[in-house]
Symmetry: D2
Subunit: 451 residues, 4 copies
């Protein structure tokens, strides 16, 4: 029987053109978090056609744990746009109204349960029209202005469908269960918690996540880490003042002053003694007219910390600043949590497995774990959930040649890396679930049985 890893490698390479095409389609019709209606409908349709058992939206998500849902008007508009842009019915109707999570389940008898997470949402970024920007040059620049896949989740979605194809083709050589989770609203860390709290992962033994990444790793292709992804909380802040004519400013309550005071003081939260912190007031929209004392302001902010404690320090200080800034100018305020994520770590055993599979089985260079400092990743909720019942989690970075920094208008990645990521996901599945020549799959309990 042919070596399963070789099969995986061949199959992934073979799927590359299809994945590129898929990625470009999703890129062109980019949809932001909870609005991935066209995207999710295509995924659901494809999984169904591949023969997967498919769960959608409320079948997966814990309704109360959804964070940062757009207004109904926005949801409605997104639905209409998705249909106009080729969303697949009836799936579009199933995923609308912030139900854009799709799960494909492949059952191969007794054996470990493996979860894989692929996030699928875009960002609120205006995509570059410059000819040097590949999507612009090749005609798959986002047609949805102000909405762009500037973090590679279009690639993640394509990888997920690629993995789905490969694993289905290997069905007979695996045992156990695979759950492919296509998660909405990772940007703003809004979607993963609702998945984790929905119960889907409560039987998962091994949880796997991945991100296409750049960085100073020219010669290596998979980067592991034990730490470095920051805990974060995303807050929407509202100040409510009292409008009046700007000629008589003392008769109003000036929400603009409250907001500006908050912005400067938030940025000045004293640096935490132990560990890195971040704060950003990303957006501020305030006031209703030039000659009217500002009566309303909305800020979208986020705090981060290299540990939960550091993040809590930032969040608590931020809340105190917001309250005091409001009171200082006679305003009321409201704070809504619209996203959150713990810090993310991988289990050492999982790093070891990945290191071995990549270097030994797949011939993909893999670096030993190192501290990486970066953004946040709500996959951490899934990792924590799985660990609650003794499961293990791995988050790896598939290194790709990047054009433009993440979240910027000129971001792009090397599409070749789609195949690499598929190989690693499937290689790990083979290692953890594989029936190769009658040998047992990997087991932490009986390490001597492991290959």
């Amino acid at each position: 029987m042919e070596d399963i890893y070789q099969v995986i490698k061949d199959k992934a390479d073979e799927l590359l053109p299809e994945m590129i095409s898929c990625r470009r389609s999703i890129h062109r019709f980019a949809e932001t978090g909870w609005l991935e209606i066209r995207t999710a409908s295509i995924i659901a349709d494809r999984l169904t056609k591949l023969g997967y058992e498919v769960l959608i939206g409320s079948q997966v998500l814990n309704e109360e744990e959804k964070m940062g849902i757009p207004d109904q008007a926005v949801l409605d508009a997104a639905y209409e746009r998705a249909v106009a842009q080729g969303a697949v019915l009836p799936f579009a109707d199933m995923v609308k109204d912030a139900n854009t999570c799709v799960v494909g389940i492949l059952r191969c008898g007794e054996g470990p349960v493996i979860g894989m997470r692929f996030d699928i949402d875009a960002l609120g970024v205006f995509e570059s029209e410059d000819e040097s920007h590949l999507p612009a040059k090749e005609g798959f620049r986002s047609v949805n202005e102000g909405c762009m896949h500037a973090c590679g989740h279009d690639g993640h979605a394509a990888i997920g469908l690629g993995v789905a194809s490969v694993l289905m083709s290997l069905k007979d050589r695996l045992r156990g269960t695979v759950k492919l989770v296509f998660q909405p609203a990772e940007e703003g860390v809004r979607g993963a918690r609702a998945v984790a709290m929905g119960g889907l992962l409560d039987d998962v033994d091994y949880m796997l996540g991945n991100h296409l990444s750049g960085g100073d790793y020219p010669e290596h292709l998979v980067a592991l880490s034990n730490s470095g992804t920051l805990a974060t909380t995303k807050l929407d802040v509202y100040f409510h003042g009292k409008a009046c004519h700007a000629g008589a400013p003392s008769e109003g309550d000036n929400a603009m002053l409250a907001a500006a005071t908050a912005v400067l003081n938030l940025s000045g939260i004293p640096r935490y003694a132990e560990g890195a912190t971040r704060i950003n007031v990303g957006t501020l929209h305030a006031g209703s007219g030039r000659n009217v004392i500002c009566d309303r302001a909305k800020m979208e902010i986020e705090v981060r910390g290299s540990t939960s404690k550091a993040n809590e320090y930032m969040e608590n200080y931020a809340r105190r600043i917001i309250r005091s800034a409001a009171e200082m100018h006679g305003c009321s305020f409201e704070i809504r949590v619209v996203g959150a994520s713990p810090s993310l770590t991988s289990d050492n055993e999982m790093n070891d497995i990945c290191f071995n599979v990549c270097n030994e089985k797949l011939g993909i260079p893999c670096r030993s774990p190192e501290a990486r400092n970066g953004g946040s990743e709500d996959y951490a909720y899934m990792a924590d959930r799985v660990r609650e019942h003794g499961g293990k989690s791995l988050f790896f970075n598939t290194i790709s040649q990047m054009a433009g920094p993440g979240h910027s208008p000129t971001f792009n990645f090397s599409e070749d890396s789609l195949a690499t990521a598929v190989k690693v996901f499937c290689g790990l599945a083979a290692d953890l679930m594989g029936l190769q020549d009658g040998t047992e799959a990997f087991s932490f309990e009986n390490p001597e049985n492991n290959r």
Copy 2:
């Protein structure tokens, strides 16, 4: 022959229901500055039907002196909305694209030239839906959400059309010329300068303006002043920074910090030693995403001063703050003047005439001039222009019972005052132009001829 003032009074009272109806229609389809397409088309249509010589848009406005024109997309949308809401063709096509100025000219042979200004634009205010708010109760609340006649310019437009009717009916008893100027974009003091610099008023001997006003004048109906309306400059301010991921904030240039620093320091411009000053950052829109370092911010601000010197002090200090706030955070900036007005005074002679006409001829109580402190009024440009060639200017306040403060969601005025204002405008015209029993009209040059 019937006393001309009695005729005016009767006619104005008779027109009141029609003026109320007109005012409510304009209120219901409120349109903000330079977008008064439906409003202007109705005015042009009515003036034409009354027999006025009508000038529109570019026939009146100095193109280069228009300030604060909205984007073309906004202009286009306003046109479509206006047509859908009953704008009168072909006038709607003539006034679109920021040409919403309409002038009606009545020529009655040799004699003085009198200009009258009626401003017609609404504000960017969300109108109250409360039952206690008359427009809501009576069904003429603005259907254009976020756009409201909260300063009474709907009434001013109706007054202007009322004046047009009365004067046309008196045509044979007047000599000289009347120019009824329906001015766009008074809010933000953007429109008057383009009218004044367009040349229309260069032969005007007497310029008249009016505002429906509240205030502590329960028993009086016309209030005069010699001073008090503030000079002002309206600025749009843009900060341009550099976006980057919020996890690596030092790699961007944070326009949010520049803007917040500007807001606090603008509000803290030291109070001017001589005379009142005002400053307002009315709106601030900044940032493109929560987890992106803010790369752009736009503020709409205004400064005011009781004298031009005070206003200049404020503007100069504001410009210094904006420049320094930008430089402080590595940002560039841009400042655009989108509105401006000198301070406004009435000529003493005109106050005297008005005092006499009201109290003696019309039986409308009129107070002696007193200092009033208040907003700004770009009619001041017209007053200054007329004075350049020796003309005189009057600005009077028609006191009305007000509900809600000016520029607030619950603003309303007593509709009875529409007739009062028409009487004063026409009474002044009769006094200045009237052929009553063969006597000469008023003349500064030959005061002995005056009644």
Copy 3:
């Protein structure tokens, strides 16, 4: 019998060299509020020698109403310095410890009681050493560095002693009582309230105050007003945080951030709709070391308003800002009122008398009352106290050619004006108390008796 006004004029002119000498001595040894030990001792000595009944310190002042007393160490040092600089014993011992008020009483039988206020304190200003600065050139620049008579109170003290001389010489031609009040600590409006609340003025019928002033009055020498001096409140503000090493800033509570936030927001208190307002954070002393998170900050601030209501608005808003700024950064705070004054007006009848006495009796040009906008003056407490029992108050400005603005290092006044002020004070006394040719003195009750 020689005309009493001519006597006054001659006598005042004769005293001018002595007054200049006195003023220069006081200028040279400038002492700030509550520390005027040398100054007060010289005054008490002179009044005693002239034959006045003299009251000192606690005989006059209401202990509980003293505001802004310096620390005991400062009081002690001031005493030592005063003695070293020629303070007159035993008076220096009587006025030390914030008892630097001296009152001279001249009793001339039955008749009206007239109070006159002369303030005697210097400012915390470093005096110019420039040769163009007269005190530097003439050798009477302040030897007490950082302490300067930059507001003319040295002149006021000399005027008071001049008045004392003249009135004593006229003793037999006056009836009634004169109370010459040499008030400490007018700067910071700290001293007058303790005088007013001490009861000394409770029988005063006519209260008189004066300030040497500049301004655009080249040809006139006495300026009257009915309004314009601002109400004010002086506050000392303390922030208490928690120190820690600057390497671990999150472990402290940063009083520097609280103070800086307060400064910017205090300066940005929205301008009051009706009437002028002022705010100043005059001093800020914060922190104990460069590498220690700041745990303490003290600010000396003041608010002003053209009316008590305007001043209250400012004070209330300021208090809210201070509280919120403290809470924002986990600090506690304390606010102490160290000075206050109502707004100041003169009674119309008194303005009329002064106008008449100056123009008709003394030949000193005097302008009709006009609104003047300026600083604050705690003489207002004395005016208000006297009015409580039906007395009248006048505050006049003796116009002097000024070098340098008030409170600046180059301030100086024309010493000729000392004689002018003496003439006005004494002329008013003659008018109100004078037995001239047997006629009655002025009486509001029997106006027909008045000349």
Copy 4:
């Protein structure tokens, strides 16, 4: 011959009471940087009596590299105080005027040159009077109010003198040269650079430094590290505005607003993407009077970074903020560098030697190097200087039980640790220089010769 390490241990224990007494005397008469006149005079006296060749002040220091020298008046006052408090003549005269560096040299023939650094200055902290604070209880609380040894440099000075005693007693068993550097003004990182640039260390082969430290190391006594001490720059910032009366604030240029704007924005410098940063505005003194617009402000600030690049980013951003804040309010400014230090690392070979000497020879537990995050240490200049010609450097932490955090009013250390530190310094000298039984001293060049 007795084991040299045993001799060292016995001798150090024997010296402990004397070192405690010395430390308490220095603690009681605490002197801040460049003012350590009494302290330095005692050290010079003691070294002289022990037989050391002694260099003082300008014999050691590069005059141009001294940073943060106090004003002459402060230097003079410190000298007078030191003499009054028992400074030893004539040394007090030699170290006055910022010459408080003392070096003791012990020459033992050919051999390696070893430098040892002991810093001797106190901090501007008000020491606790609480009975629970040992110095208060035992009567050696600082009599110099506002000046306290709150960082253990009193201990460092005592350790240095203890080392001097021990090494002198071992003179015959050592070969090479020892240079004991008693460095002034380590607080504020002001003194080391002038030593390093003075040339004294240009023949040093092994440079040793130490700090008494707390931390979570209950059972270990010497802690090593390879990194973690932050690069830093200390800046004095001056804003110069224009004073005027607070009633006419627009006539001045408000340095208070410049300073407050700077404080908030400095605190809000965006967090550096790679590595830790710190910023502190430690002190701010602004303004000359409550009712005077502030014309001057001085801030003492510092920035830090875990790398020189991070520190540079902070310094550059801070400079830009300061310049812009000044310009914003029409002020001029000045920035003076008053302290600076690169980041500090130990050479691996030296850590290895220390690890071995402590654990193997002295029986003092020593931990392997670990990353420590903390303050700054200008010893780094000495380390870098020595490395320029191929020397090696070690900085170790002697762990002591601490009461109160560093730089706090209740700081104290366990005095037993004085003996420990002496043992380590002398043990290292013995290892590097020791003639023990005729064996060669340690040599990197001939490692086979090493024990």
